[in-house]
Symmetry: C2
Subunit: 326 residues, 2 copies
Amino acid sequence: MTRRPSPEALAEGVRTGRRAAIGQAISLVESRRPSHRALADALLEALPPPEEPAFRLGISGPPGVGKSTFIEAFGWARLEEGHRVAVLAVDPSSVRTGGSILADKTRMARLSMDERAFVRPSPSGGSLGGVSRRTREAMQVVEAAGFDVVIIETVGVGQSETAVAQMVDSFLLLMLAGAGDDVQGIKRGILEWADLLAITKSDGDNQTRAGNAANDLRSALSIFLPENAPWTPPVRTCSAMNGDGLGQLWEDLGQHRDTMTKLGLFEDRRRQQRVQWFREELEAQMREDLRRRTDLESVEQQVEAGVLAPGVAARRVLELDVGTTS
Amino acid sequence: MTRRPSPEALAEGVRTGRRAAIGQAISLVESRRPSHRALADALLEALPPPEEPAFRLGISGPPGVGKSTFIEAFGWARLEEGHRVAVLAVDPSSVRTGGSILADKTRMARLSMDERAFVRPSPSGGSLGGVSRRTREAMQVVEAAGFDVVIIETVGVGQSETAVAQMVDSFLLLMLAGAGDDVQGIKRGILEWADLLAITKSDGDNQTRAGNAANDLRSALSIFLPENAPWTPPVRTCSAMNGDGLGQLWEDLGQHRDTMTKLGLFEDRRRQQRVQWFREELEAQMREDLRRRTDLESVEQQVEAGVLAPGVAARRVLELDVGTTS
């Protein structure tokens, strides 16, 4: 990485909303070089939380559902209302190349080029844990820079939806009507995380199918929803092409936030997320540390093959490791 | 705890199926006294895995669904077929008292008193993580003792279903028909773990309602199921009172195991479970270790309150801790 200003100077640049500083700050927290870690920590400590909590919105959905087009249209409407919108991505499958940065910029061309928005492509490949830790810190950076609507997008690979759902206030699941009136591409275990659902591409010939799919989904959901649930996830249809339904979704999101806030669940959720984040950090760092000192992979392979009992293996690894300390 | 035989002698007693030895062995792995841990490890290492993998069945459902009655009737039918049945419970809310042991024995009176079965009440209270670690080790003990059908029951408190689903080959969710034809008491995020579903108490006047609830559930599930899923969870009705449907469920379970085995998914799942178990053990032990040396609770409270950033807090805790080693 190139020469960069001190963490304090960088933090000042972020606070005053300088785009170059924001970009550099995110690169710093995303950096995997151990020497950058202390600088990143100093930066994060120098960044104040926003006075009003930002709107943290997670968006997911299967490939082809039109996430970028949706975010472009939805985000643009927020800019028009005076919000400032940041878009971050969680994609553990991506390897950052010149090409993919370009692709990210291209697919949200209007947002990317607007001063009131900030679009950041996915951090370079790595484990989901690594990527989501860096995304959470990038979120701190953009919030400190005054972006009050932060959209975290996930491509839906592996467990990335769950990871994203656990770092936002509201999680929106986008879906497509299938060839019948069914809903396509729902991954097992994702629905439970959705605070809002929308069938996309509800325009032209597709409108009826989208409406039917939404109805089916709504009645199916009603069976699964716990009684006395504080919030019933609305199921909507929308079109990023003609803008239909986008306003309704933004209203729903506001309603979700209000309801959760009134019941004390908004702050509850954030509190839980902070604790969880802390625990994940702790675990990730302990594992990294352990990996440097023991042959964790080989032990894990033996456990996987059934040669070594899991509990015994864990104690053995830690005895080897901890032996010198305790 | 009272004087007990050496781990080797205990292992020998377990292998030859002596009930007293099995009980003592489970008490040893459940013990929270640090000095017992090495003995428990030696015991576990001396226990051979069964030649044929046992049938690990998780059973959950809301209070009132009739889990004990179901397990009593279902387990009894297996004994009649020549199987040997062990029943273990995961219940992080329980505090073991004379009363609750008695309750456990009473509620499955026939199974408890039969030589071919082994019913073990929940380990004494503690964190879910602790309870599930001990349950997994108890599972090793009963399998080494020749029980080829191992039922892990959960009361459905907190995340205990997920924990149980992650230690079994097949997960059966029991449900009740509601006042309408709806299904009652499904907790969010549980359905995704179910390999089989059954509406209980389908007898007498309740039979029609149970059948309707099953139909509704089946059609709702079909919307959520991924295309090309290797296994479609069947939705059945049953009655532990008159035995209706219990045979079908056992057939379904056999079918599930066959299908998973043929696709290589049975062994895949067990492999993943071993790795996950190892990682949980590792994390739990590292946390315990950390807790002894740092004030983890106080740091966690500061993180929860938002006073300390999660990432920074994690690194600070580990620096304090690791400082002397590295």
